[in-house]
Amino acid sequence: MTANIERHKYDIVVIGAGGAGLRAAVEAREAGLTVAIVCKSLFGKAHTVMAEGGAAASMGNVNDKDNWMVHFRDTMRGGKFLNHYRMAELHAKEAPDRIWELETWGALFDRTKEGKISQRNFGGHEYPRLAHVGDRTGLELIRTMQQRIVALQQIDARETGSPETNIRVFAEVTITEILNENGKVAGAYGYRRENGAEVLFEAPAVVIATGGVGKTFKITSNSWEGTGDGHALALKAGANLVDMEFLQFHPTGMVWPLSVKGILVTESVRGEGGILTNSLGERFMFKYIPDVFKNQYADNEAEADRWYIDQDNNRRPPELLPRDEVARAINSEVKAGRGTEHGGVFLDVSKRLSAEIIKKRLPSMWHQFYELAGVDITKEAMEVGPTCHYVMGGVEVNPDTAAAVGVEGLFAAGEVAGGMHGSNRLGGNSLTDLLVFGRRAGMGAVAYVKSHGVNPVSDSTIEKAATRIAAPFTREGGENAYSLHQELQEITHNLVGIIRTRVELMEAIEKIADIRQRSANISVTGDRMFNPGFHLAFDLDNMLLVAESTAKSALLREESRGGHTRDDFPGMNPTWRQVNHISSFDGANVNIKVQALPALPKELFDLFDVHELEKYMTPQEIAKGGSN
């Protein structure tokens, strides 16, 4: 049976062709190794293309006071100090080089007057820091790396006669299993979406770069690819996930029409002066300014409005509070019955800016509302509400090498990796995260392959993976994957969403377990030819593991921090800051263990004003002044 399947041998297999996967592949190929890039969509279409705002790097092109230390501080504050300090440090230090490198591969960012890469303001970043191309920065990133890979293939074509000698893209292939042999990675197994044919990759190192988990939720800004495949593959291969309770709900997604529910409305709308009102016409954000932010945010309309003209002498409008605060405020307004007809609130930029300026500064937003909702945002308000946007939790890795803890030969980078963003990610920090840690994962895998060599896959391992793929076709009259997916989305939305309670989380855990049991009996109609019902059966299995991990971690964390809000434990608690939640899988269930968060070393501790750290740390930690 294993004789007929399509087989490939590579030094490294990269799962995922988003920013992280492509950057890892470029690194591995440039080091002289052979690489396969495997992705569920066509080449160049990964979720990263949707990123709009920009990529954060402290190049200091617009304000020369910016440097890696300021960026590091902002990132730690944004994550409420639950970040792995070493990841935040490497990210802040290396991000500028990664952006400049893109330019040497042909990227064309927007420019400053001096001809340097322009940088824009974004929530939580002290200085203008986001390199961007209008509102399509993700597309520029993907295309530049896609074209870099083509450039490398052209070199190989000239030197070896074939463009695919050293680097090959396997598009529209879904990986269903990471293969282990003798406790180490030996390859990956999957199927071609086009015809269901199975594919075996033999490789001693695998880089997971599969992105996020948004499709686990009912309302999300993510594309269909965000089904948490890498999170689940890693768990099943014996790796751990860290802090899966932290999910970022972006405050402004479209809520109407139904068909576009969740699609992102960029933060720039509020940056350009958009205000939020409820159905009574109240500008409600003034009621939701938390104490820690009282000094920076205006508590009355007059001052908030003046800020747009004079930023030195006025406090910022509360619409520009961090994402988690705004999302919770909108949620409360709607719950209190002051929402719009379609369950959102109003976001209006038409009263502040002229039609001409709106179209110039927010071109794709204008287009998006006009084409999809029939709303002209130069004249009318938009209806918006929170949407599941980003998962901070992910595979537990070694910060320097991106090696997954617990499995030799496995690496992870990008949204699928955990630790970098702590409990809440700042806008713009993801795109540079992809580049910094994508490259490091490539380097880590190269070093591993050079020192370990091949690890052959046994027939019995292959057969096990093959049997799993065939299974849904052997059942008849079983559960329908589409309806189970919808059920799961209802549960996560209602019980594991923005605001959580102990009772609801316990109910969610029970219900998720029930769906998982029933999903073992999914049957699929039709054959293996490009069959979405068959594809969903596998995606669903991954989403269920992710949801279980999130619900269980959320139940344990009895505090509110960043992307995790407990109605029954509303405050932030310094003792909870000292721990990570580590998910592992025993073949039947996800288990959570509590693990100490690595403490800030003295040189990084000293970058902060100690009074600021007092808000987050215990007196003992402060007295110690860093770990060394």
Partner: protein, 253 residues
Amino acid sequence: MARTLKLRIWRGNDEDGALQDVTVEGNNGEVVLDIIHRVQATQMGDLAVRWNCKAGKCGSCSMEINGKPRLACMTQISAYGDDEVITITPLRAFPVIKDLVTDVSFNYKKALEVRAYEHPVDLKPGEARMEQVDVERSQEFRKCIECFLCQDTCHVIRDHEENKKSFAGPRFFIRIAELDMHPLDTLRNRKQTAQSEHGLGMCNITKCCTEVCPEHIRITDNAIIPMKERVVDVKYDPLRWLGSVIRKRDGIL
């Protein structure tokens, strides 16, 4: 608000297939891709359709709706009358894999044939200086989401399979133009190779490609026509050609 839609959807592959009539519920504000998904979830679990972002950003959901090349995720059902039958077929210029999914590998092969960007060897990372006005021309072409609708509509490929070997198509003409206008690219002769290797001469400027581009890239006016004109210049005036290369290098402040 809810309405009943009458669809005819292509089911089958390259050798064998037929239009199938389907009746399905639709709501105002929904796009064709929503309707296809509803058909999938309720009536045809194995109906094949390619999509990804559902926000007009990835260029995956290209198909022909009532014969027009379009993105299904950006096509509102309200554009069609109550009694109108909406006919949904796969892109015609490419082989059908199944139902609405076509084999677009032609385009990836053509991408490999366009010589990559070449950065000036002496210019270190972070040292590049470019004016916004100078990058904007290439930026227009870099908005391309590779939906390949322009490739699908161009009659040079659509109606003549035999041309595919020697014709890169509008998507790759803008790629060549983008590199040609890139202030830093050092590779010479891009417009000549557009003519000699990529079949620019076969384009007779019908502008159909520009009309279908969902990114509103002015493919013909801003890329094809200027390249054709400059090819003529260059062929007859070697000095001007030299000048243009020097101007390009001057872009580095």
